[in-house]
Symmetry: C2
Subunit: 245 residues, 2 copies
Amino acid sequence: MSQEDSRGVLEAAHSGGRASDTIVDRLQHQILSGELPDKSPLPSERDLMERFSASRTVIREAVATLASRGLLDAKPRFRPIVRKPGYDTALASVGSIVELLLEQKGGVGSLFQSRVFVERGLVRDAAVSAGKSDIANLKDALQRNQDAIEDSNVFYATDVAFHAVLYQIPRNPIFPTLHNAYATWLAPHWSRMLRSPERNRVNYASHETIYMAILERDPDAAEEALVDHLNTAWEHVRQTFGDVG
Amino acid sequence: MSQEDSRGVLEAAHSGGRASDTIVDRLQHQILSGELPDKSPLPSERDLMERFSASRTVIREAVATLASRGLLDAKPRFRPIVRKPGYDTALASVGSIVELLLEQKGGVGSLFQSRVFVERGLVRDAAVSAGKSDIANLKDALQRNQDAIEDSNVFYATDVAFHAVLYQIPRNPIFPTLHNAYATWLAPHWSRMLRSPERNRVNYASHETIYMAILERDPDAAEEALVDHLNTAWEHVRQTFGDVG
DNA sequence: GAATTCCTCTTGGTCGGACCAAACTTTTCG
DNA sequence: CGAAAAGTTTGGTCCGACCAAGAGGAATTC
């Protein structure tokens, strides 16, 4: 706990740190302040060399760091694009590690279990305090879900969308991001599940049950329906390929 | 000698990727497989150059990438240390972005709100399904909490520990990590809050109420007590410095 | 003999220059 | 005017070099 490197806004790297840290800080500040507009390309490396009077090595290292933080969108042979950080940025930056964790035994199961936990809370809250617009959104999503029963691909999309509505209800930007995370990391496994209009019909019915319970302001019923819905789906995923823990 | 020449490395560059990606993959594999033991230092860069027959530039880039993924613990002038990924690794790797997000208006509030959401679910579940050992752990933590009322610093630690027990109950490694995240990211704000034996007494009483509700298998009471507890604390934090949105 | 100081070798951080191929611009030409 | 060709910029990679800080061992001291 003795690593109290005070993050001084000014020179922090003089005493043994990396030179790139200074540039990272400065660039980061320029990005956050809008001096480097969002979605605009970063100046060329040779250009940055002059601005910061540093070698290309250091510049490239700084750029790489910023990219790993998600403040730059750096595709191989292209100019890095400035990207102001949002909650999704954080999500993207953990992606690579999470993928590793998911490969380990029980990884996907733990993630899914946490999703059930979250959505249980979401539907309970929805049942208690969903506003008119929330309910309208749910109804909308439910309708689209029903209309897509015959087309499994579209159904999958509307299924995700229905659940997404639940994450919007708390009006907390963290939740939609969370949903995004689940959708992203669970999709590879989820999509292997066999799909058919029959199964879609069952899932739609579950959605409807959840919706009705929310309408009726019955948290317990909503939670139960949600748990039932997700666990059933999970069972199908497990059956499709059994070793997910 | 190197029997591979430059075949392996250059191959990947053909498809537009970076040469370092190949090395990142190989090193990552060696780390995950245990070929490079956990907590052992990485070979020197010059050494790696030969093993992968790549330039130091590429090696360094690969190391930096792995470090950003949390698979290596790379302090400035020291040899990078191999670190097998766990859930906490993922947490660490988002740290820098999250810190930025928290600085933005409403950031801390959103995070705290999500914590309340999570812990509400946790105490509900605890009330419904906590096992004997869980309850024993809670009781233990509660006792330590009480014993520390006179010492605000210790009290803070035992306070965190009490909540941590809640995150252990689901037996899902994601939750303790989550708790860690909250503790880490909220602490800077939390710790500014005025502390005193009187406040500690109030907080202890809240913990006790929560514990009792769990004992009595009353999810609603547990949730209510938890919400009350956290919101009160939050109010104190906001009063201490009003600009957290 | 153990601790300390000093010296040397190693190693990570940085630099500058160079080359290539892909991306971007400008010019040329049908 | 639009497409093809020529020219320029730029990111990716490699090389060789230098410096200062870390690591290890030798010499020195108590």
